[in-house]
C-alpha cells in the first residue's frame, strides 16, 4: 500500500543550464508549457495579499513525525522543515544557492571562503528571529555545529559537519570556522542542515529526546507551529516576524492520507490543494490532466530507477551476465508503455540536470540476440528448464522491491519475460518496506533489487557512499554500497572529486566515473524519475525544484490568486 519510501528528490549545487526559472521563482505563477518546456514561471497579474490570507492543504502519503530536524528523519519531514525552520541557505530550482539565515552566500570572490576552501566566514541575517521572538545569532550556529559533532547526539547526518573545527563567534551576526580539509559537498550539506534554537535545547535532560521541543518546535521559518493531530495533520500558521519573502497564507496544513488512491480522490474533489511527496501515479496522469481547475504535469526528480545487483553472489560476478541482462532489457517499453513516457532514459547514476552529468555514455540497445550470443561466448549453456548455467551456477535469481508499488511490479514482470527469453530465470520476491530496507538490503542479502536511488549528497554529485569500496556494510563498512562494488579507479576518482572545490576541476573525475559504472554495471540504469505533480489552479508560486526533498520548499511565497 505504501509506495517505495524512496521517492524523494535531492539538491544539486550549480547547473550549467540557463536560469529559466530564476526570475519568477519567488513571485511568478507556474505554467505547464508542454513536454519539452516543462513548468515555466510566467508573469501574472495577481499580486500577493497585503496580509496572510487563506489556507493551503498539502496532501502527503506518509506522516511527518520528527520535528527536531537534526535527528534522523525521512524526506516527508523535510517538507515541513522548509517552512518551520531555516538553513543557512537554500538551493533554488536552478541549482543556485540563495541566502536564508545568512546575509550573503560566502564565496571565494567575496572573501567568505578562503582560496583553498578551508576557512569560512559567515555573515548572518540580522532580521532573523526564532518564533518565540528570541533573536537568531551566531551562537545558535555554533551550538548546532557542536550538537551535530556531540558523540552522544544521534545526528542523522554528520558527514562534512564533522570536519568543522575552531568555530569562533565574532559578533552576534558573524562567525568564522575552519574545515580540516577541503570538502566540496559541504555547501550542499549546509543547505539541508536546518538550525535549531540554542536557548531551548542546550539545557534539555536528554538531547536525543527533547520532549517539549518535539511537541512544540520553535524555528525561524516562514510559518510557526500551530497544532498536530497525530495520524491526521499538522497545521503551521504564518509567522509575522519572518526574515524572508512572505508568508502570504495564514495556514499551511500538511494532511496525512496514507492511501494513494484516496489521496488522489481528495485532490480530485478539491479537499487537497497539492499532492506532495510521491505525487500522482503515472497511471492516472492522463485522467488527472483532464480535471477542471487543476494543473497537472511531471517534474524531474534526481532518483535513478535501476536494477541493483548483489555482486557478492557468484552468478553476478561475471560481467557478461550483467551486460547480457542489460541488453535483454526492453527499456523503451518500460518507459514508454508502463511509465507513459514520463521519465527520461538514462545511462548514468546522476540526474541529467547535474553539472557533473555525462551525456556521452554509450547508449543502451535492446538486443536479445546479442545478449544470447554474449552468454554463449561466456560459457553460460542452456540447462534444465531452459535456464542457462555455468560451472554448476544457474542463471537464476530473485528480484525484490517494496511491495505495493503497482507500476514497478508491472516493470518487474516485463523484465521477467525479457530475461526468460535469453535463458535467465528471475522470480519476484517483493517485501514490505521495513523488511526490504532493513538487513535484507543493508547487509546485501538480496539477489537483485529494483529501486529508485538518489546517489548524490544533497545537490552534490559525490557518490562515495554508494560506490566507495570502504562503504560495504556486509564487509563492515559504514556506507550504502550494498551492491558490494569494488573498483580501485572509482575509489581514486571519488576521493579526487570530493577534495577539489572548483566544479570545473571536479567534473572530469565524475565524467570518467560514469563511464566506469556504465561499463561495470553494478546497477543497470533504467531511467531518471519524473513525478506527476498536481496543484489546484490559482495557487501562485508553486515551483518544482529537482534540488530539494519536497516541492513545498518555497511555500513561504505561495498565495491564492484572488
Amino acid at each position: 500500500m505504501e509506495d517505495d519510501p524512496r521517492t524523494d528528490r535531492t539538491p544539486r549545487l550549480v547547473t550549467p543550464r540557463r536560469r529559466l526559472l530564476a526570475a519568477g521563482a519567488a513571485t511568478g505563477a507556474m505554467a505547464w508549457l508542454g513536454p519539452k518546456l516543462g513548468w515555466v514561471a510566467q508573469a501574472h497579474a495577481a499580486t500577493p495579499p497585503a496580509k496572510p490570507t487563506g489556507q493551503i492543504v498539502i496532501g502527503f502519503s506518509q506522516e511527518p513525525t520528527v520535528f527536531q530536524p537534526l535527528l534522523p528523519h525521512i524526506e516527508v519531514d523535510e517538507g515541513v522543515y522548509f517552512n518551520l525552520f531555516s538553513a543557512l541557505w537554500r538551493v533554488d530550482a536552478t541549482g543556485a544557492l540563495q541566502p536564508d539565515l545568512v546575509a550573503e552566500i560566502p564565496t571565494v570572490a567575496n572573501g567568505g571562503i578562503s582560496a583553498d576552501g578551508t576557512h569560512w566566514h559567515l555573515k548572518l541575517n540580522p532580521k532573523a528571529k526564532w518564533h518565540d521572538a528570541t533573536p537568531f545569532t551566531a551562537a545558535d550556529v555554533a551550538f548546532n555545529i557542536a550538537l551535530i559533532q556531540n558523540p552522544k547526539f544521534l545526528a542523522g547526518r554528520r558527514a562534512g559537519i564533522d570536519l568543522i573545527e575552531q568555530v569562533t563567534v565574532i559578533g552576534p551576526h558573524e562567525l568564522r570556522f575552519r574545515v580540516k580539509k577541503p570538502y566540496a559537498p559541504l555547501s550542499a550539506i549546509l543547505s539541508w542542515t536546518f538550525l535549531v534554537p540554542k536557548h531551548l535545547l542546550e539545557k534539555v535532560a536528554d538531547i536525543n529526546k527533547p520532549e517539549a521541543f518535539l511537541a512544540h518546535p520553535i524555528g525561524t521559518g516562514a510559518f510557526k507551529w500551530g497544532e498536530r493531530v497525530p495520524g491526521d495533520h499538522i497545521t503551521l500558521t504564518a509567522a509575522d516576524s519572518y526574515h524572508g519573502v512572505g508568508p502570504y497564507v495564514e495556514k499551511l496544513i500538511f494532511k496525512y492520507i496514507p492511501d494513494m488512491t484516496v489521496l488522489y480522490t481528495q485532490f480530485q474533489t478539491g479537499t487537497v490543494d497539492y499532492v506532495g511527496i510521491q505525487g500522482i501515479s503515472p497511471d492516472r496522469y492522463a485522467a488527472a490532466r483532464k480535471l477542471p481547475d487543476r494543473i497537472v504535469a511531471p517534474a524531474p526528480q534526481p532518483f535513478i530507477e535501476n536494477i541493483a545487483f548483489n555482486l557478492g553472489k557468484p552468478v553476478f560476478q561475471d560481467r557478461a551476465v550483467r551486460e547480457a541482462l542489460y541488453l535483454a532489457m526492453d527499456k523503451k517499453s518500460i518507459i514508454q508503455e508502463i511509465y507513459y513516457g514520463l521519465p527520461t532514459e538514462t545511462e548514468s547514476f546522476l540526474p541529467s540536470q547535474s553539472w557533473a552529468f555525462n551525456p556521452k555514455l554509450p547508449p543502451h540497445r535492446f538486443d536479445p540476440a546479442k545478449a544470447r550470443a554474449l552468454l554463449d561466448a561466456a560459457g553460460w549453456k542452456p540447462g534444465a528448464g531452459g535456464v542457462r548455467e555455468k560451472n554448476g551456477v544457474r542463471l537464476e535469481f530473485t528480484n525484490s522491491t517494496t511491495a505495493g508499488n503497482h507500476t514497478r511490479e508491472q516493470a518487474q514482470q516485463l523484465l521477467q519475460q525479457n530475461w526468460q527469453d535469453i535463458g535467465a530465470r528471475m522470480s519476484i520476491k517483493n517485501l514490505p518496506p521495513a523488511v526490504m530496507w532493513g538487513d535484507y538490503w543493508t547487509y546485501s542479502k538480496f539477489d537483485t533489487t529494483m529501486v529508485g536511488l538518489d546517489f548524490m549528497v544533497g545537490p552534490d554529485p559525490d557518490a562515495t557512499q554508494y560506490f566507495g569500496s570502504g562503504g560495504i556494510p556486509a564487509k563492515g563498512g559504514g556506507g550504502d554500497n550494498t551492491t558490494q562494488y569494488v573498483n580501485p579507479e572509482v575509489d581514486k576518482l571519488l576521493a579526487q572529486g570530493a577534495a577539489e572545490v572548483d566544479p570545473a576541476k571536479r567534473r572530469p573525475a565524475y565524467l570518467r566515473m560514469q563511464e566506469l559504472t556504465r561499463r561495470d554495471l553494478p546497477y543497470l540504469p533504467i531511467f531518471q524519475y519524473a513525478m506527476v505533480q498536481g496543484v489546484k489552479k490559482g495557487l501562485v508560486g508553486f515551483t518544482p525544484n529537482v534540488n530539494v526533498q519536497e516541492n513545498s520548499w518555497n511555500a513561504n511565497s505561495w498565495y491564492w490568486a484572488s
Binding site: M1, S281, A403, H406, L414, Q417, P432
Partner: protein, 294 residues
C-alpha cells in the same frame, strides 16, 4: 477395540441422510450456490486448457483492451494479458486458499471448542485461556508479523489465514456445548455410560452443528477476503501469479479508465463468497435433525 469404538453406533442409516438431501434440495439459494461453486471449480480447473492464451505472456501493444476486444472475451489487463484466463488461474489459487483455510480453522476451532466445553475443569480453563491469549492479539498484528517470517505461497497463506481465524469458532462452539452440556439428553447419555468421544461427536456435535456451519461459512467468506487483504498489505501471492485479491488490488488505479479490471475479479470474489455462504445456509437447515420433528 476401545470402549469408545465399541459404543460407537453403526453408520447412520440411509434414511436421515436422504431426508437431509431432500431438505437441501428445497433450499433454492443453496442449490444456486452449490451450482455456482461447481461451475467455478470446473472452470478454474479445466477452463485454462480451453483458452488459447498464455496467462503470463505480456503484450504491451494490447494493454487495456476492453471486453470482447481483439478476441479477448473479458479484455486484457494492464500488461496486455488475457483477463479471462488470468481470472481462471486466479480462481484456482483463491478458491484453494479460501476452502483450505476454512477447513483448517473450522476443524481446529471445533475440536478446541468441543473439548473445552465438554470436559470443563482445568482442561477447559487451559484451552479457553489459550483462545483468549490468541484473541488478545489484534488479527492484523498476527497476520503481518507471522507473514514477515514466511515466503508467500498457497500453503503458507492458508496456514496464516487459518491460524488467525479459528478462535471465533472455538468460542462459539464452546459456548454452545457448555449450554448443551447441562441438558437432559447429554446427562442421559452419560448415565448410560457413553464415552466422552461418543458424547462429544455423536451427541454434542450434531446439536451444535448449526452455529459451526454458520461460523464456517462466514469463515470461508473471510478467508477469500483475507487473501485480498493480505495482498493489499503486501504479503500476498507474488506476481506474475494472479489471485482474485491481487487482481482487484492492482486494479485500483484503473477504476475510472479500465473498470473491467476491477469488475471481473470483484464479481468473482463476491460470487464465490456468496455461494459458499448460501451452501452453508442450506446445509445448516438440512443437517438440523430437530427439524424432522415438525
Amino acid at each position: 477395540m476401545s470402549a469408545a469404538e465399541a459404543l460407537a453406533p453403526a453408520p447412520p442409516a440411509a434414511r436421515p441422510r436422504s431426508r437431509a438431501w431432500r431438505r437441501f434440495r428445497r433450499h433454492r439459494l443453496a442449490l444456486f450456490g452449490a451450482a455456482a461453486i461447481v461451475v467455478m471449480v470446473i472452470a478454474a480447473a479445466a477452463g485454462p486448457w480451453l483458452i488459447p492464451f498464455d496467462p503470463l505472456h505480456i503484450d504491451l501493444r494490447h494493454r487495456f483492451q476492453p471486453p470482447a476486444g481483439g478476441g479477448h472475451l473479458f479484455g486484457t489487463d494492464q500488461l496486455g494479458r488475457d483477463l479471462l484466463i488470468r481470472l481462471l488461474m486466479a480462481g484456482r489459487i483463491s478458491l484453494t486458499i479460501g476452502f483450505a483455510a476454512m477447513t483448517v480453522s473450522t476443524a481446529f476451532g471445533t475440536v478446541v471448542g468441543i473439548t473445552a466445553g465438554y470436559y470443563g475443569g482445568a482442561l477447559r480453563i487451559a484451552l479457553m485461556r489459550f483462545v483468549d491469549a490468541v484473541l488478545c492479539f489484534p488479527q492484523i498484528f498476527l497476520l503481518l508479523v507471522l507473514a514477515a517470517f514466511i515466503q508467500p505461497s498457497i500453503a503458507t497463506l492458508t496456514l496464516i489465514i487459518g491460524a488467525t481465524s479459528w478462535m471465533e469458532v472455538a468460542r462459539v462452539v464452546e459456548g454452545q456445548v457448555r449450554s448443551l452440556r447441562e441438558r437432559d439428553f447429554i446427562l442421559a447419555a452419560e448415565t448410560l455410560g457413553a464415552s466422552g468421544r461418543y458424547v462429544m461427536f455423536r451427541e454434542l456435535l450434531p446439536n451444535a452443528i448449526g452455529p459451526i456451519i454458520v461460523a464456517a461459512t462466514l469463515t470461508v467468506a473471510r478467508a477469500i477476503l483475507m487473501e485480498a487483504y493480505v495482498s493489499f498489505l503486501g504479503y500476498g501471492i507474488q506476481p506474475p501469479m494472479a489471485s482474485w485479491g491481487n487482481m482487484l488490488n492492482n486494479a485500483q488505479e484503473y477504476l475510472a479508465s479500465a473498470p473491467w479490471l476491477a469488475i471481473f475479479p470483484g464479481a468473482a470474489i463476491t460470487l464465490a463468497v456468496a455461494s459458499f455462504n448460501f451452501v452453508g445456509d442450506g446445509l445448516r437447515d438440512a443437517l438440523d435433525a430437530r427439524l424432522d420433528l415438525h
